[in-house]
Amino acid sequence: MRLHEYQAKQVFADAGIPTPDSRLASTVEEVMDAVDEIGYPAAIKAQVHVGGRGKAGGIEIATSAEEAREAAESILGMDLKGYTVDTVLVEAGVDFENELYVGITMDRGEGEPVAMVSTEGGVDIESVAEETPEKIAREHIDPAFGLHSYQARKVVFEAGIPRDVAMDVASILSTLYDLYESKDASEIEINPVMITSDREVVAADAVMNIDEDALFRQPDLAEMEDEAAGDELEAKANEYGFDYVRLSGNVGIIGNGAGLVMTTLDLVDYYGGAPANFLDIGGGAKAERVTQALDMVFSDENVDSVVFNIFGGITRGDEVAKGINEALEGFDEIPKPVVVRLAGTNAEEGMEILNEDLVQVEGTLEDAVQRAVKNAEEVTQ
């Protein structure tokens, strides 16, 4: 789960990391009130979950009331890579001399967090990592001990951070690690940290991604989730608690287990169709979950046909069949043809229960996928 910049900055500020004076605004008038209080120059920044906001026109610097109004009018309501901007952060502009990068993420290869510091801040850090990896200093962190202060100092000096601000940057890095650990972040980043002309360090941006599996112990952060920020169907999936990703095709896909569902997607593509979604009902799903899953996929108007692919282990075929029956018996006419393939635990019991007047049954994965692709083709012809 990704926090908005203003949310992450609030978390940073509460922990003692210096951030610029700022206000949240959702109308042009609110922006004008905010710049009145903050003064000029002021940055007006779209609060949406997309990378590269600046390049896409989502961040403007205003040096006068006229510019502030223009920026507010152009950014509020704009479409930024598919997301509508309805909130901006109005922030005091920082008069800076240098821009730095500091971040902490999980190095999954090592199974340990890694702290990264670079003097190349304010730019796309992924391209720095790819093109000039030597410009990013790294320090792995033993998760049992956390980031020792000496390690924070070491990586900051290694990165070549100017000596007069190095200890301040090391202190920010230590605070970031404390937040990374205590808030169950999967990624935490400030790009850029600005060094002002007074040699102060300020977090001019803030990125914080939270491990969704840990939200149960982060109730305050869980509340910050902005469901409206995503796709409408993805928001619905969130409500049901499904792993769901909307895609651009017309064959709806429901299955159990990420690997098998991805394989079903791949096979739809392989047999000439186009997947409309990824939907994993998870392990051990009961009939009700199955009904919700069908409801989800039927709500996507791009879906022309559905394939249900279950290989039971912890999930039981009879439960799945019950759910499919319940979902489909409610319709006078089945909205889209549904192909079902059941295998594994209690699959035979499931096949006996399944109402074959409502669905098409196939015995193998390949046959089920091909039939669903054909069903979709017939609709589009």
């Binding site: 290869g109 690997g259 569902v261 394989t263 290989f311």
Partner: protein, 289 residues
């Protein structure tokens, strides 16, 4: 022969009194697994499916001479449960639980490097040596004893490929789910190494998926160290970048690493044929045997 488990393996089930723990203990017993004890704090002295329950893993191991554990503990407590298992001298711990916070697993991973215990998972279906023992949630009836080893990051994909093999009369030595999370215990390379050393394993299936670089590492290992032929499958060719496809492992980062393409390429370069469908994987294995 088999790797990691056989009919001598003596199993403790952590979380045996929970719904999943109880159901799958019964399934494991029915399969013939030596489930000798359960461990649930506060439930010591009870019995589940005829198996005695102890308050701690330590007690269970001492009393019943267990050498492996299977963890069916909810995600919030599962990290602690694995630590508890690693604090005894078990040979093998199998963590079935899905959704353990990554930072908990980073700590577990650290402890793992300090002990001799092997961890499978978390977020895995477990391990089965057909006809001898199964530790986990795999549906026993689709497996058959035979010559092929299988290692996979995905549970349901394992079942799919195994059924493709079994339908053709190709049995398995051992099938291992290593789990789909970003931080796991036993890796592809560890499992491949064990299969290479097992004289009864004549060919190996490796099922990978998008995300991380474990498949690329495995490809390097196969090229340099393996005589046993390997066939592969990679799930997630159609996954869009930056989207989390289900569990934490299956995500392609924006910078293009961890894609199906790079994994298939690395495997092909190592001489590993990769099937376009699970059925094609079985074709390749048939060719090897």
């Amino acid at each position: 022969m088999s790797i990691f488990v056989d009919d001598d393996t003596r199993v403790v089930v952590q979380g045996i009194t929970g719904g999943e723990g109880k159901f799958h203990t019964e399934q494991m017993l029915e399969y013939g697994t030596n489930v000798v004890a359960g461990a649930v704090p506060g439930k010591g002295g009870q019995e589940v499916a005829g198996v005695p329950v102890y308050d701690t893993v330590d007690e269970a191991v001492d009393a019943e001479d267990a050498d492996a554990s299977v963890v069916f503990v909810p995600p919030a407590f599962a990290g602690d449960a694995v630590f508890e298992a690693l604090d005894t001298d078990l040979d093998l711990v199998v963590a079935i639980t899905e959704g353990i916070p990554t930072q908990d697993m980073a700590k577990v991973n650290k402890r793992l490097s300090e002990v001799d215990t092997r961890l499978l998972g978390p977020n895995c279906p477990g391990i089965i040596t057909p006809g001898e023992a199964k530790l986990g949630i795999l549906p026993g009836n689709i497996f058959e004893s035979g010559d092929v080893g299988l290692v996979s990051r995905s549970g349901t994909l394992t079942y799919q490929v195994v059924s493709n093999l079994t339908e053709r009369g190709i049995g398995q030595t051992t099938a291992i789910g290593i789990g789909g999370d970003p931080i796991i215990g036993t890796s592809f390379v560890d499992a491949l190494e064990a299969f290479e050393a097992d004289p009864d394993t004549k060919a190996v299936v490796m099922c990978g998926e998008i995300g991380g670089e474990d498949e690329e590492q495995a490809a390097r290992y196969i090229a340099e160290n393996m005589d046993t032929p390997v066939a592969g499958f990679i799930a997630g060719r159609t996954a869009p970048p930056g989207k989390r496809m289900g569990h934490a492992g299956a995500i392609v980062s924006g910078s293009g690493t961890g894609t199906a393409e790079s994994k298939i390429g690395a495997l092909n370069d190592a001489g590993v044929p990769v099937g376009d469908t699970p059925n094609e994987v079985a074709d390749h294995i048939e060719d090897f045997l």
